[in-house]
């Protein structure tokens, strides 16, 4: 079978399952009694095992298998979770992640898992000798119990009354059966030719998705006699056995009363099926199973209602966006034509199209938005491991994980956040002894928040740790030569805090394995600034520190000022423009060879855009009065002389491609309404 086409699906799903395993393991660690979580974990592990085996990743499958064995014992209450088991399972997860990453990188996903497998086996054996396999075997033999709701019962009773036969059928497929779902489907096909399936367990959907072990059961009404039916069904290949039991009225009525008693296995399964049918939350704790009822036949709800999504290649979204912007250009042309033609029905149509296309624009832009959760979700695990290795107690509280950000920003924001969170765990939160001494609770708390505000998304990382020690920061800064002792005295608290982001600065006394490896917060700062964002820090000594990151909602659309130089058009990002004005030629003076102009009582250097871009069509020296843009970089200003202002506009950012790089003056390009390309001037290049 050609496997390559399934590879990307495998990788995506494997990553999803690993993520869900990680999350649920963490939840379980908080609530070790909750068997529901174990069920969810078990299902993920089981699916992962199946997928890996199908794709031929034996090591992946065998390790998952061992983990599954341990989980199986846990969910059957034969094994209590403890620290060692958690650690081993987490190690197992890490190994699995490593293998999947290897597969992603084109490797074979092979890895020596013998040690881990041995440890997992030891856990299985250590506590419950031989019961491990015994329990499994027993579980498989237990027939799936199956109950009916009132409607189904009345259907069965009525059918019986009208002379039909009702059967309870259990079909078991062979162990080596490769296409269980297909075989099951064939069985259903046979059954449906001769009668009607009233109820099946697991549900038909689950069976179709192979979410069953080796057997499934149905309630069935037919006029065909038992023998013929059994013959027909067992003719389907790879079916091991078919057990049929006639159902009569009295046994149905018996069942009717059963749900009244909540502890009976029947009731449990009724609840089970209800859970399977209801579109539950993403990880519903499966209903607790009474001991001894059939654990193996737990409905594979697969984590409940999976959000109805499809995976789309980001390149396709980009080309959708490109095509859409072409459409916008045509729209502008049409609008122009319509205004020339002046026909009411044409104008009306064009206006309608304009409305539709602006709605479409919103949707296209939204498509690129991803919840920050996709970055946040790996942090709980990271914080847990960090805290453990540092012997600290840390709670990570995440709020606003559903906040959406542009995909390109999401892709880039991960590393800086990892850095800041590591920083908070390592340098922020104190060791337990220090915390008790300071009268704080033993467990430190780190808040990770995300929220929208205006055209920006804010991400905050706040810890209740020791805070920033001003004298120590200053001491280090002076020692590292970041600033002089003189300058240090006049700094405000905020300025001192910002020193943390200075290049080559690290306040940790010891270089630890976790943070402070030379690459400091300066990398975080430059990364965030390259995304058009901003990072700041506030802190109260002894109380805690808060890092706050401000990010643009999207990188692909910015507000810009369009200007003209003769026939050429350029765009300036509005964020860097302070003011537009016009200046008389005689007001531009020369000072030490630099041209300057007085602007609001300050002296501002003058830059001629025409000279900088070597405009072949336009010179500003000839004009008596020139338009100027006052632009800003940090606290420095410059006046840029231009020919003419066109106006303010929302523009879609495009790169110039990889062929043209090292263009210090131009940061990108955009396509204007007339289909032509305009270059975006990088204001930072204008101010030296």
């Amino acid at each position: 079978m050609e496997m390559n086409q399934y590879m990307s699906i495998f990788i995506d799903e494997a990553n999803d399952h690993l993520q869900s395993l990680n999350e649920n393991m963490l939840r379980l660690e908080q609530q070790p009694e909750d068997i529901g979580i174990v069920q969810v974990i078990f299902r993920s592990a089981h699916t992962l095992k199946g997928m890996s085996a199908t794709m031929g990743f034996e090591d992946l499958a065998s390790l998952t298998h061992e983990m599954e064995n341990v989980l199986d014992l846990v969910r059957n209450g034969k094994l209590a979770m403890n620290g060692t088991i958690f650690d081993t399972l987490f190690k197992g997860l890490d190994a699995l992640e490593g293998m999947v990453q290897d597969v992603v990188a084109g490797g074979t996903g092979k890895r020596d898992v013998a040690d881990l497998v041995a440890r997992l086996k030891a856990i299985v054996k250590g506590d419950v000798e031989s019961q491990g396999s015994g329990a499994k075997a027993a579980a498989q033999e237990t027939p799936a119990s199956l109950t009916l709701d009132q409607f189904q019962q009345s259907v069965l009773i009525q059918s019986l009354e009208s002379g039909h036969q009702a059967y309870f059928i259990e079909v078991t497929v062979r162990e080596d059966c490769l296409l269980k779902a297909a075989r099951a489907y064939m069985v259903f096909d046979v059954l449906e030719k001769h009668g009607e399936v009233v109820k099946s367990h697991p549900s038909v959907q689950d069976i179709e998705q192979e979410k069953f072990e080796r057997s499934f059961t149905v309630y069935y009404i037919t006029k065909t006699d038992e023998q013929t039916l059994a013959d027909q069904v067992s003719r389907v290949s790879e079916i091991e056995s078919v057990r049929m039991k006639a159902v009569d009225k009295s046994s149905l009525q018996e069942m009717n009363r059963a749900p009244e008693a909540p502890s009976s296995p029947a009731a449990a399964t009724v609840r089970e099926t209800a859970a399977a049918a209801a579109p539950a939350a993403s990880a519903p704790p499966a209903p607790q199973q009474p001991e001894g009822s059939s654990p193996r036949s737990a409905p594979a709800t697969g984590g409940g209602a999976v959000p109805r999504t499809i995976r789309v290649d980001i390149e396709r979204l980009d080309s959708l966006m490109n095509l859409f912007s072409e459409l916008l250009i045509d729209r502008v042309r049409l609008e122009q034509l319509a205004s020339e033609v002046r026909r009411a029905d044409l104008t009306e149509t064009v206006e309608h199209m304009a409305r539709v296309s602006s709605d479409l624009q919103n949707i296209v832009l939204k498509l690129r938005m991803v919840p920050v959760d996709s970055v946040f979700n790996r942090f709980p695990r990271m914080v847990r491991d960090l805290a453990k290795s540092l012997d600290k107690k840390v709670d990570l509280v995440i709020t606003g994980a559903e906040t959406e950000l542009d995909r390109t920003v999401i892709d880039e924001i991960g590393d800086p956040l990892v850095h800041l969170i590591r920083n908070s765990v390592d340098h922020g939160v104190e060791p337990i002894a220090d915390r008790t001494q300071a009268g704080k609770p033993e467990t430190g708390t780190i808040h990770l928040r995300a929220y929208h505000s205006g055209n920006h998304v804010f991400i905050e990382i706040e810890d209740d740790g020791r805070g920033i020690n001003r004298p120590k920061v200053l001491e280090t800064a002076i020692k590292r030569g970041v600033l002089t002792a003189e300058a240090a005295k006049s700094l405000s608290d905020d300025e001192v805090n910002m020193l943390l982001f200075a290049a080559g600065f690290s306040t940790a006394d010891k270089v630890s394995d976790i943070s402070g490896r030379g690459v400091g917060l300066d990398v975080v700062k430059s990364k965030i600034e390259s995304l058009g964002g901003h990072v700041s820090v506030t802190s109260t000594f002894g109380k805690g520190t808060k890092f706050s990151i401000q990010l643009p909602l999207t990188l692909s659309i910015i507000s810009a000022m369009l200007i003209k130089l003769g026939p050429e058009k350029y765009a300036f990002p509005l964020s860097s423009i302070v003011e537009t004005a016009s200046v008389k030629r005689e007001d531009i003076r020369t000072l030490h060879g630099t041209r300057i102009v007085e602007y609001r009582n300050t002296i501002v250097p003058v830059v001629s855009l025409a000279e900088l871009v070597e405009s072949p069509h336009y010179r500003d020296d000839g004009e008596t009065e020139t338009e100027m843009l006052v632009v800003r970089k940090g606290d420095k200003l410059a006046a840029v002389l231009v020919d003419e202002f066109i106006g303010q506009s929302e523009i879609v950012l495009k790169t110039l491609g990889k062929y043209l790089t090292n263009l210090d003056l131009v940061s990108g390009a955009t396509i204007l309404g007339d289909g032509q390309v305009a270059l975006i001037v990088d204001p930072n290049a204008l101010i030296k």
């Binding site: 790169t655 210090d664 003056l665 289909g675 390309v677 270059l679």
Partner: protein
């Protein structure tokens, strides 16, 4: 066994050249090009190719041939190789030919004023038609541009 190679044929200063067809994305008529400042003279600027901004270079200028004003026949061939997407302005582009790999010979030192390192070979098509095959990776080599930039800033 000789393999068949499909090439797009274009002309440049009365010589015929070929680019493998799978490297060519589209062929466009001349379109408005936006000048990009501080680039080598043969970089004509960037154009809008259905929503994607693509750099355009004049192949005559790239090879040091005298540049001419675009005519009715001028075309922009959009090629993509080494992750780069670039448009070539050529005098005309009008043919797709099958070239047998055994008719391709190593290029002589200089063909039509173009250095051999930009060429991957010369193919004989029919009786007396010679097709010069471009070595795209070398034509798109950026290190040379960087050298040119340096050269430009020093002079």
């Amino acid at each position: 066994m000789a393999e068949e190679l499909k090439v797009i044929v274009f002309t440049l200063a009365n010589e015929e050249y070929g680019i493998e067809v799978d490297k060519v994305k589209t062929i466009e008529r001349m379109a408005p090009i936006t000048r990009v400042p501080k680039t080598p003279p043969f970089v004509k600027g960037v154009m809008n190719l259905r929503g994607v901004v693509v750099p355009v270079i004049d192949l005559r200028g790239r090879f040091g041939l005298p540049e001419t004003e675009p005519t009715e026949n001028s075309r922009i061939i959009i090629v993509s190789a080494n992750d780069l997407e670039v448009g070539f302005i050529v005098d005309s582009a009008n043919d797709v030919l099958d070239v047998m790999s055994d008719t391709i010979e190593n290029p002589p030192e200089v063909v039509g004023g173009i250095k051999a390192k930009y060429l991957s070979g010369v193919a004989k098509v029919g009786e007396d038609r010679l097709l010069i095959l471009l070595h795209l990776a070398e034509v798109l080599n950026r290190s040379e541009i960087i050298q040119l930039e340096r050269f430009g800033s020093e002079s």
